[in-house]
């Protein structure tokens, strides 16, 4: 290797000298030497040690770095950036209501301001440290001395730079020599050639050229035309042996890829299409109706025109008032169920009352007269254009079988939306029970009140209370 080259050339050409470097066995010698050098007035000094030596900065006379002030400025810049950005975007340029919060700088801006302060500070601290240390530096003249390799292992080095304003080659040598170093060498310029070997240059060139290839291909494709079909990298992913909805197949005779249900299957959720409890009518009796299937089908849908359908006469004989003819022939006679599928007991009545007052009373009113708060407000605002909610006590409604009321709650009617998503079927039936009780309470006589509860009526001088407190004592019959 070229270890001896610099030494030889000292006598010949005197390569550039960077300063003196002394080597010590332990950090105490180093610290003592550093103090001596510091006290002699040298400032361009440096120490190289295998581990951090406490007190070396003081011994070398290193002044505190200005990095903290740079970081402080960067932090304030980050803070100002974040606040200005948020004020500009949301308080000035594009006011947009988010969660109903005020525009501009709010407490919600502080975390972002904090983040940007930290981000700017951290990057500045890191990059500033790199820059202030003049890094990256690929080579340092101290490396020319092979003894210096032990700086990472078990030796301590003190370096006085030639650029120091008091530097004098002989006096520094004398000074360092007086600190009892293990060795004292002059740091000389590295005279090994610094040009890159040719193979490496070639390889780098090749790499650069190769790196251009993808870009060129893309540019070529963007600028030119091609009639060739698209190149499929993963052919079996692009063309999978499967059928999608609405496609044809040769596997089945009917050629359909979508297969119909096997007869008699009831899939999850389909039970509700089968059971009177979920429908309000008995689907098995549908065929017994005189109406054509299409009329029946249409009648099961929620009316689209928003007009309330005309009263539907009861379907079966055991309904009390079955005699009235339908107003229009279009309205079908559905096999509504007329007997409540749930028990008419106290618990169900309570649920019905609660749910009615939660969901129904807003429009229909607590008493069911169609005079809820929504109605009152809309009536005041709409000035006559408002179609009031249906009173539950008109003949048309009170004569409906329970199944039909259930169907109305489930599917909605006219302006009334479907409540199937808000209420379970059981709750809907409880509401029907409660509505029945409400209706009954309008036409009750003293015999409907249990004997032991009648004194309550005497104590209360008021006439009939529109609020249905008394309904719990009314016997409910749904037949």
């Amino acid at each position: 290797m070229s270890e001896h080259k610099p030494r030889k050339s000292i006598e010949k050409k005197m390569p550039k000298a960077f300063g003196w470097m002394a080597e010590y066995q332990d950090e105490n010698n180093l610290l003592a030497a550093a103090r001596k050098v510091r006290d002699s007035g040298y400032t361009k000094t440096d120490a190289f040690t295998p581990f951090p030596v406490h007190g070396i900065d003081e011994a070398l006379g290193i002044k505190p770095t200005i990095l903290p002030f740079i970081v402080l400025c960067a932090g304030f810049t980050g803070l100002a950036t974040a606040l200005l950005m948020q004020w500009w975007t949301n308080g000035f340029d594009y006011k947009y209501i988010i969660s109903g919060k005020p525009f501009g700088i709010t407490p919600a801006s502080i975390p972002i301001a904090f983040e940007l302060t930290v981000l700017f500070s951290a990057f500045t601290a890191f990059l500033g440290m790199i820059a202030l240390n003049s890094l990256p530096k690929f080579s340092n003249p101290v490396f020319t001395n092979p003894r210096f390799d032990r700086a990472t292992n078990d030796r301590f080095f003190l370096f006085v730079e030639a650029t120091d304003k008091y530097y004098n080659r002989e006096s520094v040598k004398e000074l360092l020599g007086g600190t009892h170093p293990d060795s004292l060498d002059e740091v000389l310029e590295d005279t090994t050639p610094s040009t890159l070997p040719q193979p490496i240059i070639l390889a780098l060139l090749l790499l650069v050229v190769a790196g251009l290839i993808p870009g060129m291909i893309i540019l070529n494709m963007r600028a030119g035309f091609s009639t060739a079909p698209r190149f499929h990298v993963f052919f079996d992913m692009d063309f999978q042996p499967k059928k999608k909805a609405q496609q044809q197949t040769t596997i089945f005779v009917d050629g359909r890829t979508m297969r119909p249900q096997v007869a008699g299957t009831i899939a999850r959720g389909q039970l509700e299409e089968q059971d009177p409890f979920y429908l309000g009518y008995d689907p098995s009796k549908l065929t017994m109706s005189n109406d054509s299937p299409s009329v029946l089908f249409v009648s099961l849908q929620t009316p689209a025109d928003g007009k309330p359908p005309i009263a539907v006469p009861p379907a079966t004989k055991d309904e009390k008032t079955g005699g009235q003819p339908p107003a229009t022939p279009v309205v079908p006679v559905l096999p509504w169920i007329v007997k409540l599928p749930i028990e008419a007991n106290e618990d169900n009545m309570k649920v019905g009352k609660l749910k009615f007052e939660t969901y129904c009373s807003a429009c229909h009113g607590y008493g069911g007269y169609g005079d809820g708060l929504v109605h009152k407000r809309a009536d005041a605002l709409a000035q006559g254009y408002w179609l009031p909610p249906t009173s539950l006590h008109i003949d048309r409604v009170s004569k409906q079988p329970v199944g039909q009321i259930f169907n109305t709650i489930t599917k909605g009617q006219g302006k009334m939306a479907s409540y199937a998503s808000s209420l379970t079927p059981k709750e809907r039936w409880s509401i029907v029970l409660y509505v029945r009780a409400l209706q009954r309470s309008r036409n009750a006589n003293i015999d409907d009140v249990p004997v032991e509860s009648r004194f309550l009526l005497d104590e209360d001088p008021k006439p009939v209370d529109p609020k249905p407190e008394s309904t719990n004592s009314v016997e409910v019959t749904s037949k």
Binding site: P64, L67, P107, A108, I110
Partner: protein, 414 residues
């Protein structure tokens, strides 16, 4: 280990001991005058309801103000042993003496318990008859947790935990003064981990019970951490001032170095930041969710003349100490650092006032002057207790095995 040292240099100054009775009397006078000022200025005619409310709130705020220093000291001791810290060995005894004042300060909590059992609901609204708590959510619940009996049991439990922990650590530390046995350090290191968990829970719950329950309808789960962060900040401020005063009196001059001041300054700065972080965390969640049952706590602090005071806490408790303590030159200068610490001591009192006083009523000049006098009085009483407790105890644990480390370390120049 044999150290040659002047025994007199690690004793509490004779002049301090001589002044202790005067400080105590002055503290009592200040406290009484302050409380009387609160009481007189808020009583209207024959109606003392508001006056009593103001008085008790002021007492609680001032009590917790000085008590939080001892909690900070206890945590400091625990965490020094948990981390096996060497740097703090020479200042640890001061914190140990501070934490040993807890038994005395516990006596100052007795009036609050007496007041509870006398049936007063001036401070803790939950102590009122449920019939009188119409607008309260807790009134409609079974209030077993906030009943005076259970409250007292918990209070006693907290004090028991803290006193036992503090005395055990103090006893071992004093034993080490005699024997120099390093095993005593290992034993404390071993138990500091479990005890710090017990400490964390007890402080959090004490904060909930004593401070948060003055408004029992409001709750914030971070409240315990909030109080803890403020307490630590107050503790380090007090330590800095204490070390400086001792050095000015000619004590511990070589044992507490500029490096200790620098490091305590760093902790002070750190806890200023930590408090701000926690206080803001509490605020931003409540502000963003904007639920009436949470926001009313801040509403109370923005009405009745408290608005400027409450906004002022950002300046007093965060911006000023944060910017002032940021530079290492300030943290390494004893005088400047002590100035900052004195400001932080005030900021901590400000914070305690912010937490408690708006619940008592509107901000008015004379009651607030009374409250401030009460705070000064409480601080004087605390100082007297400290001097009394420090008498006969060396101010530095001279035979601590880590003491050489504490005396030789240095902060690197950045």
């Amino acid at each position: 280990m044999n150290l040659n040292y002047d025994k007199a240099s690690i004793e509490i100054p004779e002049s301090w001991r001589a002044k202790a009775p005067i400080i105590l009397s002055a503290g009592l006078i200040f406290l009484v005058v302050g409380m009387a000022c609160c009481f007189m200025a808020t009583s209207k005619g024959g109606d003392y309801t508001q006056a009593l409310k103001y008085l008790t709130h002021s007492y609680l705020a001032n009590f917790f103000y000085v008590f939080s220093f001892t909690l900070g000291a206890l945590f400091f001791i625990l965490v020094q042993f948990l981390t096996r810290a060497g740097w703090s060995s020479s200042i640890r005894r001061l914190a140990e003496i501070l934490m040993m004042t807890i038994p005395y300060l516990a006596l100052l909590f007795v009036p609050i318990l007496v007041m509870l059992f006398a049936g007063s609901s001036a401070l803790y609204g939950w102590n009122a008859d449920p019939k009188d708590m119409e607008n309260s959510v807790i009134a409609s619940k079974a209030t077993f947790f906030l009943s005076k009996e259970f409250f007292t049991i918990r209070t006693i439990a907290y004090f028991t935990i803290w006193i036992l922990t503090a005395s055990w650590f103090f006893r071992l530390s004093r034993q080490q003064d005699e024997s120099g046995d390093t095993e005593l350090s290992s034993l404390r290191q071993k138990w500091s981990g479990p005890l710090i968990m017990v400490f964390a829970l007890s402080v959090s719950f004490a904060a909930f019970d004593w401070l948060m329950s003055i408004d029992a309808d409001w709750y914030s789960t971070i409240f315990g951490v909030y109080v803890f962060s403020g307490s630590m900040m107050g503790f380090f401020a007090l330590m800095i001032i204490l070390c400086m005063l001792l050095q000015n009196a000619g004590k511990v001059q070589k044992l507490v170095t500029v490096e200790h001041f620098h490091d305590m300054g760093k902790f002070l700065f750190g806890f200023v930041m930590f408090w701000s972080y926690i206080a803001f965390s509490q605020l931003v969640l409540i502000w963003y969710a904007n639920i009436p049952e949470e926001t009313f706590w801040y509403q109370v602090r923005l009405e009745g003349g408290w608005k400027a005071f409450s906004y002022g806490i950002i300046l007093v408790h965060f911006i000023i100490p944060f910017l002032f303590l940021m530079s290492r030159h300030i943290r390494r200068s004893r005088t400047l650092l002590a100035t900052g610490a004195a400001w932080v001591l005030f900021a901590h009192w400000y914070d305690m006032t912010f937490l408690v006083m708006p619940n008592a009523g509107s901000a008015e000049f004379f009651p607030m002057v009374g409250h401030l006098l009460g705070g000064v009085g409480m601080l004087c009483i605390f100082s007297a207790i400290f001097i009394q407790r420090a008498t006969g105890v060396p101010l530095v644990a001279m035979r601590d095995p880590r003491l050489p480390e504490a005396l030789s370390y240095a902060n690197p120049i950045l």
